[in-house]
């Protein structure tokens, strides 16, 4: 038994080392395989969003199909700061994260008693409300054209200035640092007593309730945290594109995030990041061959769900997050 655990934790360390090495060295190895740095940046941001969706889906057992709303609000929040208020990248991220996270907290309080399909439907409906606001309210949001122009601003670090606007590699590392902060926070929460109550609710809500866990409160906290992570990713996404797109709030975007999480592996912490890698790479390469690239990703998705119901990383033996 202990041999097995040792073996498993050894493998876990090896996987972790591989992931971090790949991420830290991405700007150097990506061009060698025909990629480019900005592709890596997109993977990080979309992967973070998929991990935020999975924070709720995979670890609390609650499926939201409207999480693109918080992602989009984060993007618009960040963009509006840069466009209208202050030329400061950190302020943009802060404002976007707060806007999306707080909106999620309020909505979460309204819907936290719904379960399963009903919860998913309500989140779609509210998500679409935000989508139509972004789409219709042209004078503020830019409507169909999206919010532009705004530009991410160089970072002043006291001794030096990091030009993340023009230097793609510098921007990649900036996003990587942001990614590390969020992922560390997620991992930290999942290892806490509160994080274990999330697992408890996922595993058996009835049992959780009869252990004395106020299930609605805990789901609301998990939902709210997930929305904050989502809005944070959305803020970064606005910086990636120097643009905020109403389609970033659409429920099909929510579906993409869920797809990344499911494809990579809902029960694994890193699964959604892998899902995002596959998704972004497909989008980038296949879409240069055919505009119907989504057929291929759909086909891949079906294959994964049929043959690896636990997702690609879920096919590897694992230990629960504790």
């Amino acid at each position: 038994m202990s041999e097995l655990i040792k073996q498993q934790s050894g493998r876990k360390l090896a996987v972790l080392a591989a992931i971090w090495t790949a991420l830290v060295l991405a700007p150097f190895w990506m061009p060698l395989v025909g990629g480019y740095t900005a592709l890596g940046t997109r993977v990080l941001v979309l992967g973070l969003a998929a991990m935020a969706v999975n924070f709720l889906l995979g670890f609390t057992g609650v499926l939201s199909f409207g999480h693109a709303a918080w992602f989009g609000i984060g993007a618009y929040g960040c963009g509006m700061i840069l466009k209208f208020i202050a030329l400061s990248t950190p302020l943009g991220i802060l404002a976007g994260t707060l806007a999306g996270g707080l909106a999620g907290a309020v909505l979460g309080a309204l819907i936290v008693r719904r379960r399963g399909v009903y919860f998913a439907m309500v989140t779609i409906a509210f998500g679409q409300v935000f989508y139509y606001i972004a789409f219709q309210w042209s004078s503020v949001t830019g409507g169909d054209d999206g919010l532009r122009p705004f530009y991410r601003q160089p970072l002043h670090l006291g001794v030096a200035t990091l030009d993340i606007l023009n230097n793609a590699v510098a921007f990649y590392y900036f996003v990587l640092v942001c990614f590390v902060l969020a992922v560390a926070a997620m991992a930290f929460i999942l290892r806490s007593p509160f994080g274990r109550t999330m697992l408890a609710i996922r595993e058996n809500e009835l049992r959780a309730r009869f252990l004395g866990i106020p299930v609605e409160l805990h789901i609301w906290i998990a939902f709210t945290l997930s929305c904050f992570f989502m809005a944070y990713a959305g803020s970064l996404y606005a910086l990636v594109n120097n643009f905020a797109d109403p389609r970033g709030l659409h429920y099909s975007q929510s579906g993409d995030f869920v797809m990344m999480a499911v494809m990579g592996g809902m029960r694994s912490f890193w699964g959604p990041l892998l899902g995002a890698v596959i998704f972004v790479v497909f989008q980038d390469y296949v879409s240069s061959v055919t505009i119907n690239w989504q057929i291929f990703i759909g086909f891949l998705f079906v294959l994964v769900v049929l043959f690896f119901p636990g997702g690609i990383l879920g096919a590897i033996p694992r230990r629960a997050a504790s």
Binding site: N204, R207, F210, L211
Partner: protein, 249 residues
């Protein structure tokens, strides 16, 4: 003072009367069994006590306090914990993790973002103690869903116990078990009752278990109170015999 007083509770589901004007008083330290033919309303009665259902009428007094309107989690906080007829555990987590969650919740740590070293050590040793008591020490790091039925049941009882209840409610603890497993669970319950002086209410079909464990027995039949007394009194009760034989006929 009585630990639990159930006063004239009824539960209607539409036109079906599942529990009809039943009262019960449980004294501290008592082990009370509830028996009755299938469909007697035993589990519904249980669900009224633990707050899974709200009674249509009647009151439930726990430790001198009216808990009739309280939701399940709040009853748990006041010292009521239960197991279910179909074992309810966290199947994909290990036995240790199952008990760890229960222990952390019981220690009021459920919203903590982290644990102090002292808290962590306390939880760890309490979990080890519970694993030991439930005979799960050798299987602590296996997923509960993979364990034998009897071990899953033991894990569920230990989770209920982790909450340090003043009243433990067990819904058919030996349901679906073989002789050996039944014996082990019976011994476990006996130890909890005798050694820890825990007040226990249990529903049980296996009469060997009931007569071996119970201080007093209450009999329900078709949602109504039929009889109450010591195991000897119940064994000699004609109405009870008729209810059981009538069902067998």
């Amino acid at each position: 003072m009585s630990l639990l007083q159930v006063k004239n509770v009824s539960k209607h589901f539409g036109s079906l009367i599942a529990v009809n004007d039943v009262s019960m008083t449980v004294e501290p330290g008592e082990l009370r069994a509830i028996i009755g033919p299938n469909g007697a309303g035993k589990t519904t009665f249980f669900n009224l006590i633990t707050g899974f259902f709200t009674p249509t009428s009647g009151r439930i007094i726990f430790d001198g306090e009216d808990v009739t309107a309280l939701r399940p989690a709040r009853r748990v906080w006041r010292g009521m914990s239960r197991t279910f007829q179909v074992t309810e555990v966290f199947p994909e987590l290990t036995a240790r993790e199952n008990l760890r969650i229960a222990t952390e919740v019981a220690s009021g740590l459920r919203l903590r973002p982290w644990l102090s070293h002292a808290d962590n050590e306390n939880i760890r040793s309490r979990v080890a103690e519970l694993l030991d008591m439930g005979g799960l020490a050798g299987k602590a790091d296996r997923q509960v869903g993979e364990l034998a039925h009897g071990d899953q049941r033991a894990a569920e009882i230990m989770m209920a116990l982790a909450l340090k209840p003043r009243l433990l409610l067990l819904d058919e603890p030996t349901a679906g078990m073989g002789d050996q497993e039944t014996y082990e669970i019976t011994q476990l319950i006996r130890r909890l009752h005798k050694d820890s002086k825990l007040t226990i209410v249990l529903i049980e079909h296996d009469m060997r278990v009931v007569f071996h464990l119970a201080d007093r027995i209450m009999v329900l039949d078709q949602g109504r109170f039929l009889a109450e007394g010591t195991p000897q009194e119940i064994a000699a009760n004609e109405a009870v015999q008729t209810a059981y034989l009538g069902q067998a006929a």
